[in-house]
């Protein structure tokens, strides 16, 4: 990809018409890599509704390049909701409505000309429960590059790179053609991470990626995240305070506040700061109560 002037790149990143160009170059995230410095993604006054239910209220966040941002907070405060609205996975929930703006390199991903498919090619997602496809390990990885039309000259190399990137290669290199369901839960989750990085996204969203795993598998994935951050921008939802403080650079604390009239619990962002500050000197008493375990 040749160098664009900063403004034109920004305008074109998620333009549908631009997609073919990105795909032809074989690497969708090249576009993003040439983008100007500054936050990779930002939300401004983000509100999400499920039908009439107001799930999150006025969330303002910004996610820095090559940083890990942790979203923490009690159950039901809307962490997953915010995460899913960052790559338009919320589009799949019937009745979900997003207000405010979510920008990716300055461009609104909910803009009228933006194709959610393109958004997800730039902003990948790893789910709470490992969800490998009912295919071989190899095909699980190759699926993404194939469907997104990446120009791949050597798929074997792509698969190997992705598996190495997810610290899984040594464990599976002799059984690439065997079904992914034969792997352990922790291996399956790393396979899902490998599958995501194989499509070369720019941002990776992870929704409680370790909650179904044992401490050893969790430690492996945490190590992995620190390595991945040199290449990707990572946003992770976690219930594990230790994990948030270990892996993340920034932490956003959410909580839910009941509405006076309806009693519905609407999620809101309480505090967003450097992880060290959040855990060592929280500015808000609610944050302090939560991280010291007196709440939630």
């Amino acid at each position: 990809m040749t160098i664009h002037s900063p403004t034109s790149t920004t305008d074109e990143i998620l333009d549908v018409t631009d997609r073919t160009e990105a795909v032809n170059n074989g690497d969708a995230s090249d576009l993003a890599r040439t983008a100007p410095r500054g936050p990779v993604m930002e939300t401004r006054d983000l509100n999400v509704f499920y039908g009439d239910f107001h799930a999150v209220h006025d969330v303002n966040l910004s996610f820095g390049r090559h940083e890990i941002t942790a979203l923490i907070g009690p159950s039901g405060c809307g962490k997953s909701t915010v995460l899913r609205s960052l790559n338009r996975m919320n589009d799949l929930v019937a009745g979900a409505k997003v207000q405010g703006s979510v920008t990716y390199h300055g461009e609104d991903i909910y803009g009228p000309k933006v194709d959610p498919i393109t958004v997800r090619q730039h902003i990948g997602m790893v789910f709470q429960k490992p969800n490998p496809f009912p295919k071989s390990i190899y095909d699980n990885i190759a699926y993404g590059p194939r469907v997104t039309g990446m120009k791949v000259t050597d798929m074997d190399a792509v698969v190997e790179d992705a598996l190495r990137g997810a610290a899984l290669w040594d464990e599976v290199k002799d059984k690439l053609k065997s079904p992914a369901y034969g792997l352990s839960g922790g291996q399956q989750q790393r396979l899902c991470i490998a599958r995501t990085i194989a499509t070369r996204p720019d941002v990776i969203l992870m929704d409680e990626p370790c909650s179904a795993l044992d401490p050893i598998a969790t430690a492996r994935i945490e190590d992995l995240m620190s390595e991945l951050k040199t290449e990707f921008t990572i946003i992770i939802v976690t219930h594990n305070m230790q994990q948030a403080s270990r892996v993340s650079d920034r932490t956003a604390f959410f909580t839910a506040r009941p509405d006076e009239t309806t009693g519905n619990r609407t999620g809101l962002l309480v505090e967003f700061n450097r992880t060290q500050d959040i855990f060592e000197a929280p500015a808000d008493p609610r944050t302090e109560a939560y991280i010291t375990g007196r709440f939630g």
């Binding site: 799949l92 990948g124 009912p134 993404g144």
Partner: protein
């Protein structure tokens, strides 16, 4: 074990044995007997019917049954060649019509349709009702379609296939939808999160995972179609004495032939009809067995 423990355990056993349990035991026994009787009644009637038919047709399980056309002159050698071949033709063309249409409809309804839109709700309700419509109605519908298509002569393969396809379309759609619904949502989300389109997700992930369920439902639908006589009679399927060679040829069908012969006054013809009934039953049984085999072989526990 000390004394207290012994008394305690005895008390427990006693309390288990007392109370209104006797009444319940009698009631549940009566209920169980009623269940057994119902089951016995159903199975007994079926067995008697099959055995009776098998005995009646026993004399006619010979090669002539398969190779000869229907004959009212040499009644002892009358055969079902036209009916068997006709039914096979009808099955093939019904499958070709109904399977793509049924799967496509189900995929639309499950994967693409907005289930809150009024027109989709309308389709939904009608689909449930269509599965309960008497088969003869589909025969009338097919006859009307054939007239519109401009086929003036009756009882051709195409007409029969349209009638049977309409008949089993709801079955195929409903069972395909169930198979699609059994594919976990996580698979779809995993695919979409990689930047695949809904179309790619459906085609490469959902449909392949649903194939066993779809195959099972489709075969069960076809095995229902193969035994139907009423809609075929409605579109004028009658006896022929040649092999069909194309969709526009007149055709016979095994169930229709059986229906005609079973009501004939001659003993030999009735005997042949009984033999053909057993043959038809075996065909249906074979198809159902295949469906079960597919289901068991490919069953996946997510």
């Amino acid at each position: 074990m000390n004394v207290a423990a012994v008394t305690a355990s005895r008390a427990t056993t006693q309390s288990l044995r007392t109370g209104g349990n006797k009444d319940r035991n009698v009631a549940s026994l009566v209920f169980l007997c009623a269940l057994w009787f119902s089951l016995f009644f159903g199975v007994a009637v079926l067995v008697v019917l099959i055995v009776d038919t098998a005995i009646a047709g026993a004399g006619r399980f010979d090669a002539n049954l398969f190779t000869n056309y229907e004959s009212t002159v040499r009644k002892g050698e009358t055969g079902f060649r036209a009916g068997i071949l006709g039914s096979l033709w009808l099955m093939m063309s019904t499958a070709l019509l109904a399977i793509p249409l049924g799967i496509a409809s189900a995929v639309y309804l499950e994967e693409f349709a907005d289930s809150r839109a009024w027109y989709n709700k309308f389709v939904e309700v009608n689909l449930q009702n269509l599965a309960a419509v008497p088969s003869i109605i589909y025969g009338m519908l097919a006859a009307a379609i054939m007239t519109i298509l401009g086929y003036t002569y009756q009882g051709i393969v195409l007409g029969g296939a349209i009638a049977l396809a309409l008949l089993i379309l709801p079955v195929i759609i409903i069972s395909t939808r169930e198979a699609l619904r059994a594919v976990p949502q996580e698979i779809r989300h995993g695919s979409l999160a990689l930047g695949a389109t809904v179309w790619q997700t459906t085609w490469r992930q959902v449909l392949p995972s649903a194939v066993p369920g779809i195959a099972t439902g489709t075969i069960l639908g076809l095995s229902r179609a193969i035994g139907e006589a009423a809609p075929l009679i409605m579109i004028g399927v009658a006896t022929v004495r040649f092999d069909p060679a194309w969709l526009t040829d007149k055709v016979a069908a095994l169930p229709v032939q059986i229906y005609n012969l079973a009501s004939a006054p001659q003993e030999e013809l009735q005997q042949a009809a009984s033999a053909a009934i057993i043959l038809l039953l075996l065909m249906i049984l074979g198809m159902n067995a295949l469906a079960i085999l597919i289901r068991n072989k490919f069953q996946r526990n997510w």
